[in-house]
Subunit: 336 residues, 2 copies
């Protein structure tokens, strides 16, 4: 196909896939226009995020599928809105296409993207479709709402606060390790599948940020997109505090332990600098620690992990079993 | 530079350039977070658009500069919001960078982008910066407001309405023709410069759409991004009408006439299928035609051009001096 006929085909696919969605009463004009008119709730602020994904940088077609690319594009944006305590509502997609890919490829991408957006009640309401020549790219803008004047920021962690994380860390990085190594370390099939899924189609704690915001149970929060050390570093920098993480408290899944052993990589290396886990890290004042555990447990259907505490100072520190501190700085996962 | 150090440099540039802007009271958190919190006006709907630009597809670095790329990226989005009658407020930028370009290149891009956004009071409030490897891309999302329940759509042109355009057509396409042809047709320096500027740094009728909406003077409107024939075709299709354009009434600038003569291309070919003029085409009921001319003249500081009328039917037609109709269909400018 040439790029014009690809573009027209893509617009057809979008119209078909999108019109099969429940119509959103808050969308006043449809996707065919250059602009979309949206009606926010009166007593709400907007929360907006934008994440891009580039072929060969954020994903590799030798080991992922268009369906999973669509899902992960949605997840990385939904996770940002979620960690801010927001409710996602509308998405706009910038799609840089390759003309040498089939219609089926893009249909599968849209099925993935829309399956994730739909689950959260988000409508794909607009965007732009352009030729990207030899390298696919996607740019998703997600618009949501937070109660007026309320949102979870990175800037309000206070000394004494406890640090929690919603789930195990490093699984996504472990999955990537498996996908990138042609010779798979000898681990059983199920853990292997679990880790690979953690990278290709990571889950995230849907609704947790909003619940923490509604009940005023978190002083700060962030999603783990760049890795525990980098993301906590953002909280430290913005809140002007330091974070102490108990090495032994960092949640590591059984599959990741198996992989670490087989591959001779310390599990902590995956967990500390691995990105794209899309769990939420948050801080809670000590007198609310019991309550936040109860609330998060109910929502997550398992307890959250308390991994450390906030102090006066600067930087992110790991505390080993003998109480020795080691600064871990900003070692997060970096896209090539 | 490698892509990580480029990314950090870029974030530095963004922070510096953006913080030198007037702070927006409607922005609650700053650009350092994954999300931005924005406060819309109570009695407004949102109007949102997104346009992407790709190196070698929408611009060519052999004849444009990063400054002009930034300006045009802003213009194409501002023009969409303007044609909908909206007031632009906030922008988010997806930047796909090349590591082999200098810091000065990106500084210049941001200067261009911000100069255009600033002029309209728009704040660059967020976005994402990623490696694009060998081909730059930009994805801008622009969010604005319209009065609740009111906006200029493409769907409400009615038989009998007059068709107006805010300025001459085809100049941008003429400029592109000059830029793409190594052997320049023999036309004087000033018309040549005018046409090249029309392509590299097109102007647009700032505020016109909003004025037409406020005074309820337009039944439909669209900006000329793809060319007169394609853009009018959108109005026809959405409004279920046909448009008759008087061939002799299509505004052609003197520089474009000079170029057409020297290059042996009919000026109408530039004007009808040339895109990126960013003028507004709109329709007005006949009893408001005099008033809309007055209002537009005042704002544009010259009269708008009345180029035709709306009838029952389908399609876009050109009417020659003998009254003969010719369907011109959807011949607009297409990016390669």
């Amino acid at each position: 196909m040439n790029s014009r006929s690809t573009e027209l085909k893509l617009i057809e696919i979008i119209k078909k896939e999108v019109s099969s969605e429940t119509p959103l009463t808050s969308v006043i004009t449809d996707i065919g226009d250059d602009c979309v008119i949206l009606r926010p709730t009166k007593e709400a602020d907007l929360v907006v995020t934008k994440d891009c994904m580039v072929e060969g940088v954020h994903f590799d077609l030798s080991y992922t599928t268009p369906y999973f690319i669509g899902r992960k594009l949605a997840t990385s944006n939904l996770s940002d809105i979620g960690a801010a305590g927001g409710r996602p509502l509308w998405a706009l997609l910038g799609l840089g296409f390759r003309s040498d890919f089939s219609t089926a490829f893009y249909q599968s991408f849209f099925k993935g993207l829309l399956s994730s957006l739909k689950r959260e009640g988000v409508g794909l309401v607009g965007g732009d479709t352009v030729s990207a020549k030899e390298r696919l790219f996607f740019s998703l803008t997600l618009i949501g709402e937070v109660p007026k004047g309320k949102f979870l920021s990175r800037a309000k962690a206070r000394p004494g606060d406890r640090i929690f994380v919603s789930g195990p860390l490093g699984d996504s990085q472990g999955g990537l390790f498996l996908l990138q190594n042609r010779i798979k370390p000898p681990i059983p099939r199920n853990p292997l599948k679990y880790l690979i899924k953690s990278h290709l189609d990571p889950s995230y704690p849907m609704g947790l940020g909003r619940r923490l915001l509604e009940l005023d149970l978190a002083s700060s929060s962030i999603d783990v997109s760049d890795g525990l050390s980098t993301d906590l570093w953002h909280i430290c920098e913005r809140s002007k505090v330091r974070c102490i993480i108990e090495e032994s408290a960092i949640p590591i899944s059984r599959p990741l332990r198996l992989l670490s052993k087989a591959a001779h990589v310390r599990p902590l290396d995956f967990a500390i600098s691995g990105g794209e886990d899309f769990e939420i890290i948050w801080t809670t004042p000590p007198h609310k620690a019991q309550e936040v555990k109860k609330v998060a447990s109910k929502l997550l259907k398992r307890p959250p992990y308390e991994i450390g505490y906030v102090e006066e100072g600067k930087g992110v520190f790991l505390k080993d079993s003998r109480g020795k501190l080691r600064e871990i700085g900003r070692l997060g996962y970096e896209h090539r």
